[in-house]
């Protein structure tokens, strides 16, 4: 083998080495400068329907299972909604909080069902004008019994329950809700269970004073706090957006094309199964215009 051949091979090897090195370099660079982890910002900016809750529960599960996500910030602006969906959200947030820091930023309204899912957070940030509270339950009972021409197998098949039973169920939901909030906020809460049951809403500033929230701060403060709690100095932020309400309900229409005029039609369109009027148990803040028959476990609405 001649000397020139050796030199040629060396040059070729060097070029190949450079090419390989250049290909690997970005990856090494990325590795070296990679953030320590990710803070997931999970939005809830709608009333809590079953579908909205499912998406947020999925987001929270993703946060738990994705190894890069080290902390969660909840961005809450919702008047609440279905009682069952609100409980699902509470359990999902609670479970997430047991695994990683969860910090809430109330960017508007955390009332009723949306306060339920806010309660287990490690820290709750509010602004003076944001709203927290409304710890209460309501049941909207459809009027009328079994219509003519319909045959049912029992007296409660059509109406689903007697009023006394609906009251009992609302009371059970109230006990679970109020008891949970008292337990989750036990370190700072200044209200008794009976006072909380009035279901008032409070301004953010008053909420901090009463212990329903922890401090004044915006969304960025909440993200920084979540990162600090997860001991991240260098982190990414990923936003998991709130489910958008369907076009049909945005137009104020029911799925069958009828305009949603009465409160019952609206709640039916928002929370219920299409075409079936059932007793609806809601953790919802705000007035429903002219309810048919309503059993509420709280005073203020």
């Amino acid at each position: 083998m001649s000397r020139s051949n050796v030199g040629r091979i060396a040059v070729v090897v060097a070029i190949v080495g450079l090419v390989v090195g250049a290909a690997i370099a970005p990856t090494v660079w990325d590795r070296a400068t990679e953030p320590d982890g990710t803070v997931a910002v999970i939005e809830l900016h709608s009333t809590i329907t079953g579908d909205a809750a499912t998406e947020v529960v999925d987001d929270l599960r993703e946060a738990r299972q994705n190894d890069t996500i080290e902390a969660v910030v909840l961005d809450i602006n919702s008047p609440g909604g279905s009682a069952a969906a609100s409980e699902q959200l509470y359990l999902a947030v609670k479970r997430t909080q047991q695994e990683m820091p969860v910090v809430t930023s109330v960017t508007g309204l955390a009332a009723s069902g949306s306060y339920y899912m806010t309660a287990p957070a490690d820290h709750i940030y509010v602004t003076p004008a944001s709203t927290v509270g409304s710890v209460g339950v309501r049941a909207v009972v459809p009027s009328g019994g079994t219509p003519n021409g319909e045959i049912v197998t029992g007296p409660d098949k059509g109406s689903t329950a007697t009023n006394a039973e609906v009251r009992q169920r609302v009371e059970a939901l109230r006990r679970a809700f109020v008891g949970t909030v008292v337990r989750e906020r036990s370190e700072s809460l200044e209200l008794t269970a009976a006072e909380l049951s009035y279901a008032k809403v409070y301004s953010g500033a008053r909420g901090v004073e009463l212990g329903l929230a922890d401090s004044i701060g915006g969304l960025d403060t909440a993200i920084q706090d979540a990162a600090d709690r997860a001991e991240l100095t260098d982190y990414d932020i990923v936003r998991m957006e709130s489910p958008q309400p369907s076009l049909v309900s945005q137009l104020g229409l029911r799925a069958d094309g009828q305009p949603a005029t009465s409160a019952s039609a609206e709640t039916q369109a928002t929370f219920d199964y299409q075409g079936v009027d059932t007793v609806q148990y809601l953790m919802l803040h705000g007035s429903l215009a002219a309810p048919e028959t309503e059993v509420s476990a709280n005073e203020s609405r």
Binding site: K94, E99, R138, S143, G179, P291, S296
Partner: protein, 371 residues
Amino acid sequence: MNLGKGLGIVGVFVLAVLLVVGATTGVAVLTDTGTETTARPDAPTFENDTLLPEAVADTGAVATAETDTEKTVVVDLSHGNDVSRAEMQPLVDALVRGGHDVMFFTGGSSSIGYSSSSGSSPLNKSLRDADAFVVANPGTAYSGSEVNGIEAFADAGGRVLLLADTPTSGSSSSVPSIVPSIGSGSSVSASGQPTNVAGRFGITFGSGYLYDMTENANNFQYIYGSTAGESRLGTDAEQTVFRAAVPIVTSAESETLLTGDNVRHSSTRKNGTYAVAVRNGNVTAVGDTWFLSPEAATLADNEHLVGNVATFLTDGDKAAGAPQASGSSSSSDVTFPGSGITTPIATPTNETSDTNTTGTPTNETSTATPA
């Protein structure tokens, strides 16, 4: 020879496969930490023994109002009263079983101003044959003549029962959270309180309702009432249940029969003991109508209260003929502006033990409501 070689090759192949699969399994088992570490969220409030409320005892039956003589009880429905026979069926049953007559007075209205030849209003005429008179949630006010007539009726020994709920306005958006959806068949959908009738006897129905956030019948508006002192109305009715009861204020001569203890008033949010049932002579006032309904009449000790109310209505001793027509000493009927206009009066429907339901239509709304 060739066969042995072939088997050897297959054996090496199988060994190689097993080695790879085994190594993969081992590494997978060692590195698998599970998808979720905690099995379930820590939410003990959901599994608390006290989560499910106890139902209020719903046993017993309303006793029959048995007295020596057969009495006539008139229930006023002529003032747009926001109450129906169905809503006081247990009371009607207790009276009818005791052989008494229950009449729902639907005819004539004070605003129309009917004047008979004697100058008396149709209500006062009906009262002459009655022994007891029930007023519940009138939608319109009683005229001066009618109030005078009712006072004369009570003075003559007639029993008067005044019932009122929290006033509602017909189409308001600020309805209380529990509203019985009745009155659709009537021209007056608002319910009110018999203010001027009660005022004549030194009784005032309050505004708002009473509530209790802690000791209640599974809802803050469903409060427990307890007996105050020794009264026949409170006999055996140690714990009664009222819905959104109205507090009653009375003058000194009235006797407080039932109270809500340690409850709050919705208007003032003040804690205290409020009278829910009072009696002044022959007049008893109760700040609730719901306790008479089929849903409520046997809750807790309500059956005793309903029975005692039926007894109160029938154990009086009224002088016949009162209230007298105008010109007499006890009554001073005035002539209405519409005097002389003859308006057809619906005959009061008569309900006796024999004819529980009459064919005569009444003004009462017959819509069955899950009140």
